[in-house]
Symmetry: C2
Subunit: 170 residues, 2 copies
DNA sequence: GCCATCATGTAAAAGGTTACATGATTTT
DNA sequence: AAAATCATGTAACCTTTTACATGATGGC
């Protein structure tokens, strides 16, 4: 279970209310982890009983701002450094590309073109994230990685398109 | 739910018993999808009532070999071509790299080195898969993609290592 | 005063993992 | 004959998603 670690991590970056955490899962972690508020609130309650997070302040509308405790930082650090990475992560795109070969050329073309569009949109999004020279962005490394992977993905997709039986033949 | 589609896909490649399917999930799809036998058997039963798979033959030890029906092929094709890709795939490594910045340089070095080892092992494994020139491998494209992504990953990891505060300073 | 949004929670249903259970065949 | 492996299934538990439910505040 790494929902708790994702929550700890987000709180280590910045204290937040449960509501804000839900938004941050959507904005900055949606490509890697999702959690809706119905998971976040119980998770915070559990982390509190474990002494890993604490309420820093209470605000309007019954809101509570949570922060990570020193014990929470230890737990997070141990997870990141000492624990085994779970490599058996489910990946729907992986399944799709694995089964891709079963499609006839016309369908393959359609799938590839759809994916090229998506990849180009992602590239643009990553580009705008990286382009902010004003602040020294601590996320720069993972954005950079995303851009590099996106680039090879695009290349590969075009190679796959080129490899299709040409529609100029008769 | 794409467990059903993964099962349909594997059966579209080759008819199998439930037991063999479990093994094939482990061998060829473990990087993208896992399913244990306790998931596979009920899934086959469900797919049968839906008319998407059928028993082709019964063998020793009460074993039954399943195949995909024409309706099953339609369902699989529709999923691959017509349905939206679920992009919100959970990715523990993604979370880890996102939170990576929170670690101090010594810990970062440890994590990167561990990851370089893993990536090199993966590269070797992919290389041996791709090196089989004897059969025209229909999985070649996804192996190729895996190799390319692995290569940028390795580059990025070395760049991250180089970017760490040097331990030659005093 | 009404609506949108902020804010927090619980409950039901679906999906997935681990453990339990059993029997048949092959290998040693 | 015992052990390993093939082969299938169910049950309990945990996690995740979707739906239900409610109240507070700020802007119009």
């Amino acid at each position: 279970m790494s929902l708790r670690h994702a929550v700890l991590g987000l709180l280590a970056i910045k204290p937040s209310t449960g509501y804000e955490l839900t938004q941050r899962f959507d904005l900055s972690l949606s490509h890697a982890w999702q959690a809706s508020h119905s998971q976040v609130y119980p998770a915070l309650a559990k982390l509190e009983t474990d002494g890993l997070v604490e309420v820093l302040s209470e605000g309007a509308r019954r809101s509570r701002t949570w922060g990570i405790t020193p014990a929470g930082r230890n737990e997070l650090r141990d997870w990141l450094v000492e624990s085994e990475v779970d490599r058996g992560q489910r990946n729907e795109s992986g399944v799709r590309w694995f089964l891709f070969q079963l499609l006839d050329p016309a369908d393959r073309r359609e799938v590839i073109e759809r994916e090229i569009e998506y990849t180009e949109r992602t590239a643009a999004m990553l580009g705008s994230l990286a382009g902010r020279t004003d602040d020294p962005n601590p996320l720069e490394p993972s954005i950079d990685l995303g851009q590099r992977i996106n680039a090879v993905m695009l290349e590969w997709l075009h190679d796959q398109l080129d490899g299709l039986p040409g529609d100029d033949e008769r």
